[in-house]
């Protein structure tokens, strides 16, 4: 499946992938509204890890055999059999955050939205043609491509 891959050599630590991720997952899909009105600052599903001078954007790997899905106690976390995208069906989620602790990459973050506990993770922008983080990366440090099956 096509996945997002980071090229750390070109990551310039601007964190715009996070900004674009937030806007893409906002209701308004408008930068100012998303941050100022919906107050979505800090809800990005991609995380730029930095240890100067190196930085790299990390996000869900959409594993073949995802531990988060295996560990989910309510069956909310699933891997789409067609697209391979791992995502959380929020209506089924009970907010136990088992997925958060079971992810070996640490790319599922616990979050509380309107008092409700949810996991925050990359859904590969399944509503868009290409993930927003990739489209908006000013230095092509993120690419969305098919690299064959993972071992």
């Amino acid at each position: 499946m096509k996945k997002v891959y980071a090229r750390p050599a070109y990551c310039m630590n601007c964190h715009l992938c996070e900004v674009n991720c937030i806007v893409a997952h906002s209701k308004s899909r408008n930068l100012l509204k998303a941050f100022k009105k919906e107050k979505l600052r800090g809800t990005a599903r991609v995380f730029v890890e930095e240890r100067k001078p190196i930085s790299i954007a990390v996000q869900c790997r959409h594993c073949n055999d995802p531990r988060c899905v295996a560990g989910c106690i309510s069956g909310a976390m699933v891997k789409d059999t067609e697209t391979g995208i791992v995502y959380c069906q929020e209506e089924k989620c009970v907010g136990c955050w088992t997925c958060v602790v079971s992810c070996p990459y640490g790319v599922i973050r616990p979050i509380e939205i309107d008092g409700r506990k949810l996991p925050l993770k990359c859904d590969l922008c399944k509503e868009y043609e290409e993930p927003a983080c990739v489209v908006g990366c000013p230095n092509k440090a993120l690419v969305f491509e098919e690299r064959g099956a993972e071992v």
């Binding site: 070109y10 601007c14 964190h15 941050f35």
Partner: protein, 504 residues
């Protein structure tokens, strides 16, 4: 030293708080620590005194929340004492140092390119449409020996160096690895290869991983001899002896030790962290006959397989010097005018030494013709080419091809803040800081440079077609296609052009 400083902030960074989303991109991208984040109060603020107006934050801000304004100068300047003069004096009164700067001469000297206009065909001969007819801008670099028929009868001259084609008369000027980042350097190399033109290594050698671009490289041999060894000479297509540079004629170079990283130290063959000092003259060239020896030393070292270029800065006696260089055995003469850029130069030298490239081209071309040796060398002009029309005018004045340096860096994102010498470049160009260099992706850079060459080349073809010419060689030295506007008699004579309104 007094604690009372007369240094002032040149710019104000204005943040529109209604727009700012506090993503901190500006903080992370500013190379000069102007943008600051106060974690305790979750607020952003700026230290205006640090701002160099490089515009990096303005471009990176996703909310378009930043603007940079030039501050009113708190100087009691007048028509004679400019604010810049005062500012410089205050600065020097505090530091006692030489004023440093980067890029090219920005003083308001008359620009001759702006006072020359081009011709076009009407009725008596047709203009040519480059979309429908072949339009040739391929150019050859090197010595053009003649006559052919006679040469054929003789045994092939073993000391004849080959000629080198370029698909557009535009090449990338010498900018050294060290002055600019590996990423910027690689972008130039890749674009040159993809377009079929040349890039110039500058005086800092060629990193081993870029040897694959050797066929498109002009490898420089400068007074510091950095990175010069047999493999380096042989991997390049052309060798250039750098005598001078338009931005700083008559003086050497200084790359501070902080920029000498491990990789640069390996490439330049100098210890890591030591200053790279290029002497003002080559210490084995104190006269024209010494130059001849170096030219032929290099030719011997490369079995006469590489044309030799000699690059000089445009100075008062440039025509006679160029003639001497041609006679000394150079195959290419590169002349760099006073608008030429640099990574670091003393401000006084950059702004007050050397002559305009337009006059230098005209003088050299005419002198070489007067002496009947114009055909024996290729004349490459450099120093402040801003657009394709400048290139066309330079070729009509008599150049064969041009180098673009500043324009190429601008294509890579440079905003002419002139702070290259600080090594802090926010755009990842003139810096070796690994945190910043990675922001210039060579793939994207090469694409931008390629686009620039493509755009300019297309414009050159359009202009040629308008003149009724379908080959660049018919433009070379064809000053009848130029007219001066607002130039005096002396200037017209020096440029060898008539005034607009005069017929042929």
């Amino acid at each position: 030293m007094s604690t009372f400083s007369l240094k002032t902030s040149e710019f104000s960074v204005i943040r529109d708080e209604n727009k700012c989303i506090k993503c901190l991109a500006c903080v992370r991208q500013c190379g000069f620590d102007c943008h600051q984040y106060d974690e305790e109060n979750d607020s952003l603020y700026t230290i205006d005194a640090n701002c160099v107006n490089c515009q990096r934050c303005v471009y990176i801000c996703p909310a378009d929340a930043l603007k940079i304004y030039e501050n009113p100068k708190p100087m009691r300047s007048n028509n004679y004492w400019s604010a810049n003069d005062l500012k410089n004096i205050y600065k020097q009164a505090e530091t006692g140092g030489v004023l440093l700067t980067g890029m090219g001469n920005d003083k308001a000297f008359p620009g001759y390119f702006d006072r020359l206009v081009l011709n076009a065909s009407q009725v008596t001969n047709p203009s040519i449409d480059p979309l429908r007819e072949p339009m040739e801008i391929r150019t050859y670099l090197g010595r053009r020996t003649e006559p052919i028929a006679l040469q054929k009868q003789k045994e092939k001259d073993k000391t004849q160096t080959p000629i080198v084609p370029i698909e557009t008369p535009i090449m990338f000027a010498g900018i050294s690895y060290g002055a600019i980042s590996h990423q910027a350097f690689e972008a130039l190399a890749r674009a040159a290869k993809e377009f079929g033109t040349m890039f110039n290594t500058g005086e800092g050698g060629l990193p081993k991983d870029l040897y694959q671009y050797g066929d498109n490289a002009i490898v420089q041999v400068a007074s510091g001899r950095f990175g010069v060894h047999s493999d380096y000479l042989n991997v390049g297509r052309i060798i250039e002896i750098k005598i001078g540079q338009g931005a700083k004629p008559g003086i050497g170079g200084h790359l501070p030790g902080e920029k000498i990283t491990e990789e640069i130290s390996t490439t330049r063959m100098i210890p890591e962290g030591t200053d790279a000092l290029s002497p003002a003259p080559h210490h084995d060239i104190y006269s024209i006959e010494d130059l001849r020896q170096l030219i032929f030393t290099l030719k011997e070292a490369t079995r006469y397989e590489k044309p030799i270029s000699v690059k000089i800065s445009a100075v008062h006696n440039v025509a006679a010097i160029a003639s001497g260089i041609a006679r000394a055995g150079a195959d290419i003469i590169a002349v760099d005018g006073f608008r030429g850029g640099t990574g670091a130069a003393p401000l006084m030298i950059r702004d007050h030494v050397g002559i305009p490239i337009e006059l230098a081209i005209a003088a050299i071309d005419q002198r070489l013709r007067d002496e009947g040796i114009r055909n024996s060398v290729t004349l490459v002009a450099a120093g402040g080419f801003r657009c394709s029309a400048d290139v066309v005018k330079a070729i009509a004045l008599g150049a064969d091809a041009v180098y673009i340096g500043t324009a190429a860096l601008i294509a890579l994102g440079c905003h002419l803040c002139q702070k290259c010498y600080t090594g802090k470049c926010s755009w990842g160009i003139a810096t070796q800081d690994p945190y910043k260099t990675r922001r210039l992706n060579p793939e994207l850079g090469a694409e931008r440079l390629y686009n620039l060459l493509r755009g300019w080349s297309h414009e050159i073809k359009e202009m040629l077609g308008g003149m009724g010419i379908n080959s660049i060689e018919s433009l070379k030295g064809n000053r009848l296609h130029l007219r001066g506007v607002g130039l005096n008699e002396v200037e017209l004579n020096l440029l060898g052009v008539k005034h607009a309104g005069e017929a042929i």
